[in-house]
Homo-oligomer: 185 residues x 2
Amino acid sequence: MKNYNHTTYAILGILTTECKSGYDIKQFMDQSLNHFWKISYGQIYPSLKLIVQDELAIVQSSSSEGKPDKNEYHLTSKGIEVLKNWLEQPIEQIPAQRNEILLKLFFSRYQSSKSTVSLLENYKQKLEDRYKTFITIEQSIRNFKDTGEDTMYWLFTLDYGKRTTKAAIEWCESSLEQLEMKKGE
Amino acid sequence: MKNYNHTTYAILGILTTECKSGYDIKQFMDQSLNHFWKISYGQIYPSLKLIVQDELAIVQSSSSEGKPDKNEYHLTSKGIEVLKNWLEQPIEQIPAQRNEILLKLFFSRYQSSKSTVSLLENYKQKLEDRYKTFITIEQSIRNFKDTGEDTMYWLFTLDYGKRTTKAAIEWCESSLEQLEMKKGE
DNA sequence: GCCCTCATGTAAATAGTTACATGATTCA
DNA sequence: TGAATCATGTAACTATTTACATGAGGGC
């Protein structure tokens, strides 16, 4: 079976939901997959073209009143096979998460403690904002979604975000404390 | 001041250590920055060329007995300025960490619970291996490094890795438990 | 002689973003 | 009429990896 890139699999996955057009896919990404997967239109439309070429989906134009025409992509059985097959493959390796704050911190002896503190405080703020967003999303999933099959898995991914973000916030606090102690010396 | 990409700043940072050549930089990355920054030779050498062109460093050939010649790159004061300036800029945004396991989990209702369990167990194993690696690196830093200025910052980045990896392991355990409960229903 | 490590580099392919171009509908 | 949202798409650029090419020196 031919291999596709992760972006293609992400799109195939989204096509299993009610989201069927390029525009819908982008909306879905920005709302639901935002914290662990993002892509731009520049990738979505060419990928959809490939997906149709390889017969993983068929496209049909749909027009509804008062809205521009829309291309709806529907998975074929071949497309579903490809998706299922990918789901079953184990993860080759944990992604090397590039992290700018760690990179800066690694070389922080070239700047004042004060600057490093600012850097960390700013980062901590961003993490706290993100954490709050997760809580909000969680609430809305629990409120509006009936306990369908998807719900559990969606909550898993949110839980991952919450746990790792919380750990990162605690790390910021711990590091800031240590910097404070160093200054006090 | 001209802007460079993160890779260039990473290289400038490494050039402040004893690592001065393209080969050294790669070694350093693979050993010390491995869990949050990786680059290939295909990026290192072209970047070094640009760094010299922009006079952020000068290059000098050095030969030592029994070893091939080596190009040593030494930061200029301009190079140090550029590095320091970058260090002081706050992080624009938390990186959207693409995460394949979350992507698969998100669409896991299209596979059996058994497959999902395997996926998570495999991932948990990888996380545990990574955690052990962090402990090992931490020990070696504490043992072999005198408590120089760098040490504290290096331990910060390791601590980040340890904390977030631990949170991810706990997440795996929690998710596996929930899947188990679901199966028992 | 052969393999491993040291050492530098390029070319091609892949991945991904940003900016641009276009045009319909809705609402103020 | 002008801005906002809906909708599709491409071109250019940037980033990054992989595969390749080359060659010296050391140890078996």
